[in-house]
Symmetry: C2
Subunit: 501 residues, 2 copies
Amino acid sequence: MEEIEHLKTRLADVVHLNHAAAVLGWDQQVNMPPGGAPARAEQLATLSRLAHEKFTAEETGRLVEAAAAQVDGLDYDSDAAALVRVVKHDYELATRVPAALVAELARLTSQAHEVWAKARAEADFAAFVPMLERILDLKRQEAEALGYQERMYDALLDQYEPNMKTADVERLFDELRVELVPFVAQVFANLDAVDDSPVHKKYDIARQAEFGLKVIERIGYDMARGRQDKSVHPFTTEFSIGDVRITTRYIEDWMPSALFGSIHEAGHAMYEQGSNPAFEGTFLAGGTSLGVHESQSRLWENVIGRSRAFWGVFYGDLQKLFPEQLGDVSLEAFYKAINAVTRSLIRVEADEVTYNLHIMLRFELEKDLLEGRLPVRDLRDAWNAKMEAYLGITPPDDGRHGVLQDVHWSSGLIGYFPTYSLGNFLSVQYWNKALQDVPSIPDDIARGEFGSLLGWLRENIHRHGRKYWPAELTERVTGEPIQVGPFLRYLKEKYTDIYGL
Amino acid sequence: MEEIEHLKTRLADVVHLNHAAAVLGWDQQVNMPPGGAPARAEQLATLSRLAHEKFTAEETGRLVEAAAAQVDGLDYDSDAAALVRVVKHDYELATRVPAALVAELARLTSQAHEVWAKARAEADFAAFVPMLERILDLKRQEAEALGYQERMYDALLDQYEPNMKTADVERLFDELRVELVPFVAQVFANLDAVDDSPVHKKYDIARQAEFGLKVIERIGYDMARGRQDKSVHPFTTEFSIGDVRITTRYIEDWMPSALFGSIHEAGHAMYEQGSNPAFEGTFLAGGTSLGVHESQSRLWENVIGRSRAFWGVFYGDLQKLFPEQLGDVSLEAFYKAINAVTRSLIRVEADEVTYNLHIMLRFELEKDLLEGRLPVRDLRDAWNAKMEAYLGITPPDDGRHGVLQDVHWSSGLIGYFPTYSLGNFLSVQYWNKALQDVPSIPDDIARGEFGSLLGWLRENIHRHGRKYWPAELTERVTGEPIQVGPFLRYLKEKYTDIYGL
C-alpha cells in the first residue's frame, strides 16, 4: 500500500498545520494577553494558507488518484478505502473554490465581524444590511464554485453535513413544525407549573467549576487526554485524539449555563476522544459531520444530563456543595427547574422545547436570503414575523434579543444552523437504539455508571471517526434514516409529564 | 525598497511558523494533558521542518542577494541594512549544515534525553558515555559544516553568541579564575557570617505567586503583553513583541527560587517586549545573543533584585504577607539571607559568587571534549577534579550533584554555557553605564520607581533587537568591549560587605 502511505505522509503536514492553528486559536481565546492579537491573526492566516496550499497542490491530487487506483476493489469498510474516499471528497471541495474567493471571504467576514458586533450592541439592523448583502453575494459565488444539483443552499449545507440536501431538512422541519408549534403554545399556557427560581440563585463560581468537572469526569471525559478552561464563548477543540479540550463560561446567578454547557462540550469531546487511535494524524480522525457531533453533545446534555435518573445520582452532592441554595429544594423541584421552558428570545439560552423553533426560523430565513427570495433589507421583519408565528412573541430589539443575536451570518456561516436540529433529532434516535441494544443502560445510569452507554457510543459511532458519511452512519447504527418522530415523542412525553399537560 | 519587501514577506512565513512552534512548545510545558505528547512531537517536527525548508530554499537565497544589492550603500545603522545583514548571517548558517545532519542530531538528542534522564536519576555516568560520544561526533561534523578559522569550538559558540571567539572567552575566564577562586575560598571560610534560615521556612505557594507577580509588574514587565504560568523548568518564550510569556516554579521551603526566578525571567521578557515595534514579524525582533539576554535577566535578578535598595521598597509588603516567617527578621537579615553563599554543587541553585565557577568548569570541559583533548570516559574525573580545584568540594554523586546534573549536553547544546557568564559580566557593565548616564537611578529605585532604569535599557539595548551584534552593541552602549573587571569589583564589594571580610 505504498501510494496510501505517500498520501498519508503528505496529508500529515496538512493535519499538523491545522492542529497547530487549533492550538493557536484555543490559546487566543483562553490565555492570550491583548497585546498578542495582531501577530496572532497573522500567524493563523499563515498556517491556514500553508495548509490550504499544501492540500490543494496538484501533487496532492496526483497522490489521491494513485491511492484511489490502489484501493479500487478493496472492501468499502476498509480503513484505506475510507481514507481515500474522505480525502478525495475534501480535495474536490477545497480545489473548487478559487483561492481569491477564499481570501476575499476571509477579509470580508473579518471586517463584518466588527460591523456586526457594533450593530448588535446598538441594536441597529440597518447598519448590518450592506455587510450581509456582500457576504451573501460571495457565498452565492462560493456555492456556484462548489456546485449543486437542485438547490444553491445544498452546496453550503454539504460543507457541514455531507450529502444532506436542503429538501431533506425541509421535510424534517415540516414535520417538526406541525407538531411542535401547537405543543409549545400548550406549554406556554402552563408555564406556572414549573418554578425555575432555584437555579437563579447565586452560586459560587469556584464551586460550580469543581462540581462540573466532577460530573464530566464521571460520565467519561478523559482528563488525561483533555482539559477544561474558561472562555467567553464555550467550545471544544482537538489537537489530536489524545488532546481534546473544552471551555466553559460561568454565570453566577444562572447555574445551569456552566453545568449543562460543560456536559454539552464534554459530549463533543468524548466523540473526538473516541476515534480509532489508528486514525491519529489522518483525515479519518474526528467527527463525521456537525449534525452527528451535535447529537453527541445533546445526548449527554439533555437526554442524559437533564433526566431524573442522572440527578438521582448527582443531586445529593450538589446539595451538599450548595446547602444554602438547594437545601430545601427537592430533587423533583430541581429536575423541573433545570427543564423549565421559557418564552425564549435568545437561541443560546433556549430550553429543549423551544430550541429547534429558533433553528427552523434561521434555516428558513437563510435559505430564502441565499436563494434570493428574501432581500436582506426585509430580513428583520421576516424574523420578527416568524418569532410571532412560532413562539408567539416579538423581539423587543434587533440586537441580542433579535435578528442580530447570532454571530454565524457575519462569519459567513450559511448552512450551519440546521445541523443543531439534526443533532437533536439524531440524539434521540441513537439513544433509543442504545436502549434497545443494551437494556441495562437506564439501571446503569441510575447507579452512576455511564460506561455502558459510552461504550455503546464508542463502538457504534465514535471509533468510526469520519469513516462513514453521516447518513450512512445513522443507517448503520439505527437501520433507519434520520427522523424527527422519535425526538418529538421524547419531547412530548418528557414535557407533558413536567408540565402536567 | 521592493526587494526588501519581497524578502520580508517570505520570511514572515518563517517567523510565523517558528512562533507557532513556540506556542505549541509553551502549551506542552504549561497545559498539555499527557495524552497529547505523541501528536505534539509530530506537530512540532512538522512546523520546524516547514520553517527550515522555507528559509533554506534557494528562492530565499535569491531574495537575500537581491535585497543585499538594494541596501548596498545604505547607512550601517538603517533598519533595512541591518535586516539584510542578520538574514544573510542566519541564512548562511542554516544552509551550511546538511539537512540529514540536522535530522540525525534531532533524532539522537531526543534519544539521548531519555538516556541522560535515566542515567542522572541513577547517578550512572557510564550509562551516558556512549551517548555523549555520539553527540560529540555529530557536533564535530556540525562545526566542520558551519566552518571556523581557529578553533572548532568557535563554530558552535557563534550560534549563541555571534562573533564571539573561544579565545575571548578563555581570556575572560582566566581573569575571573585568578581573582574569584581565592575570593570564594575567603567567603567559604566565613560562611557562618550569614544565616539563610529565614528563606528556608515554609512559604504558602499562592502567596508567593501573588507577591512575585506584584514585583515583576512593578519593575516593568507588561502584563498586557505577557503572562506568567507554572512549569517544571522556568523559561521565557515569545510569540510576538506583543506576547512574551514567562513561567515560574514554586518551592514551598525555598522562597527565593520562585521570587528571583520570576524576576530573572521577567528580565528576559522585558528585553523581548522592548524591541522596536517596527521589527514585529521580522528577523530583527528579539534578543541579539544569549549573553546579552542573560545580562538583562541577571541585572534585574541580582544587581537590582538582590540589592538593599530593592528590598527597602518591597520588604514591608513581604513581611505583611508572611508575618509568621518574617515578622521578626530585620531587613538587613533578610538582605543577607537572600545573598547567602553556599558550597554549591548544583549550578541552578548556585549563588552569585560561585555561579560563574560552575560555568567556567563546564566551558573548559566541553571545549576539551569537543576538540578531542578529553575523552568522554574521563569526563567525570575531570569534573570532580575541577570542582575540588575551584570550589574545594567533591560531588557526592554523578547524578544531580555531579557531572550529569545539566540537560545541555544531552540536548546537543555545546557552546551555550559560557553565555551565562557573559551575561553576568555584561549586566554589571551595562548597570555602571546606566548609573553614569542617569545618576538618579539609585534614588528612583529606592523610591520604587524602576522606569528610569527600564527606560535606559529600552533606549540603549532593547529597542535595537538583533540590529547590532553583541560586541557592537556593548561597544555602542559602554564604549568598551565586554570585560570581567567591573563584575569582579561589584561582586567583591558586595560580598566583602555582606560577609564582613
